[in-house]
């Protein structure tokens, strides 16, 4: 009986915490957008230099690893595609399979997960450390809104760079697949490209980019909420950083499924 009470108690507390974190995230999103749109009217704009610094960190510095993973994923899809299609003797259809899975799924998903691991965790750790060092308090007492100064630049930088990285990942993954397909099926790379262009619709690419924009918002909000919830020194920073990566990746995968479900049935 008492274990049942404890379980119910735990579930209840976790639910309340979840709801309050979702509320905090929603408020932060609105405030960040508000400062972006109207901050300059109050003489407190979101600094473009801070947005560029974030974009550089989130986007440009992630290029090498995104490139390596994309080319690998592209080749992997081609290998698996040819293997599974050979059961029907339909290997030549591999281009369609690769084109759709890369643009609609793999490019946005792999880029989102990478950026969540690289930048979402860094954001949580940075904000958490700033909180325990009273740097956030210092901003507040200086009359500098922390949402404008810290959250809005991260949100805008990620919102621009994640879709940009996804486009790059699209190209590289399709190139990786093309290299394998041309070697395996004796098809020239230009013939493969022509086939890609005729098969891919703008809609497929937009489907992926729409998701990546959504992932960008999720990564930043999860990072900020976890960073802002840090208590208990260095150990707390570590715990919340881990939590931020786990939550961001879970949120990305679940959102991905829901997004695909809604848009492919509509």
């Amino acid at each position: 009986m008492s274990s049942l009470v404890t379980t119910v108690d735990k579930v209840g507390r976790a639910t309340v915490q979840g709801v309050s974190e979702a509320g905090l995230a929603a408020m932060l999103l609105l405030q960040a957008l508000g400062w972006t749109l109207w901050g300059w009217r109050r003489g407190q704009p979101v600094r473009l230099s801070a947005v560029f610094a974030q974009a550089m960190e989130v986007g440009i510095r992630a290029l090498p690893i995104v490139t390596i993973l994309s080319i690998t994923i592209g080749a992997m899809l081609a290998i698996q595609g040819i293997y599974s299609l050979s059961a029907f003797g339909a290997e030549s259809q591999v281009t369609l399979g690769v084109a759709l899975s890369v643009t609609r799924e793999f490019a946005p998903l792999i880029t989102g997960i990478l950026v969540a691991g690289r930048s979402g965790s860094a954001l949580a750790a940075r904000l958490g450390t700033m909180k325990i060092n009273q740097e956030i308090d210092a901003l507040v007492v200086m009359g500098i809104n922390p949402v404008r100064f810290l959250v809005a630049p991260a949100l805008l930088g990620t919102l621009v760079m994640l879709p940009a990285l996804t486009i790059w990942a699209d190209f590289i993954a399709l190139l990786g697949a093309g290299l394998y397909v041309s070697a395996e099926l004796g098809m020239t790379l230009s013939a493969y490209t022509d086939e890609l262009i005729s098969l891919l619709k703008v809609n497929d690419v937009l489907h992926g980019l729409g998701k990546s924009a959504l992932f960008a918002v999720l990564i930043v909000l999860v990072g900020v909420v976890n960073g802002a919830s840090v208590t208990g020194g260095a150990e707390g920073v570590g715990r919340m950083t881990t939590r931020s990566v786990v939550h961001a990746i879970s949120a990305i995968v679940i959102t991905d499924m829901v997004f695909a479900f809604v848009l492919t049935r509509g």
Binding site: T129, N133, Q134, E135, A138, V140, V141, G143, I144, N145
Partner: protein, 272 residues
Amino acid sequence: MTETEPPVILVEDLVTHFGDRIILKGISLAVQPGEILVIMGGSGSGKSTLLNHLLGLLKPTSGRVQILGQDINAISGQQMTELRQKMGVAFQGGALFSSMSVLDNIMLPLIEHTRLDRLTMEIMARMKMEVVNLAGFDALMPAELSGGMIKRAALARAIVMDPRILFCDEPSAGLDPVVAAQIDDLILLLRDALQMSVVVVTHELESAFKIADRICVLDQGEVLAIGTVAEIRQSPNVRIQNLLNRRIEEAELDPEEYLRRLTGQSSTKEGP
């Protein structure tokens, strides 16, 4: 210190809780223009909480905090932002931004609140660095500074906007006696040179007696006494004398409560 001018800080019957625990039990005090008020008390006396209320970082359960004539819990965000430009704060650990150089740290309030060109801001920031004896350390990062330098850089950042009120949280904590004395002298210098009112929170007796015009002694969330250094020294209050003479306070022993505490069944939530 002119008594006729209205106080720069006025706290009336401030009550505050953390959850069910009462932290401040009806604090009232005033800070006059140009004076140095030291808020003193042991650990858990509520002095840091009081400071956070004066800075508008916490909202009280009841009571009012007026700064420069404005109730900080009743004014709009924009008014508060303007008010904050007249307040400077030096935090205990310095709270310097670790990603920025010392000069950028000190310049940040100017960058965010003024439209001066960069060279002018650099000159203003360097002038404050001269005042706190940090000239020439522009390009260093906070991680490269010693404890005393961090405190001085934090003071320079706090005064860069020429505030009316300066708040210092434990300015000499964690420093060796010589450096601590330098920081005390610096606070006196800042008050005399820049005509600021200063609120210092500390538990260091020596430092408090040296710099204070008046001392407010806080204990278990209550103001035990407010007065000049001489008045506080001569106070007949036992708790103040215990604090001054570093005597350990004898806790009143309640055997039943003691047993409950040991067995983990204590229901008392009230405490410092």
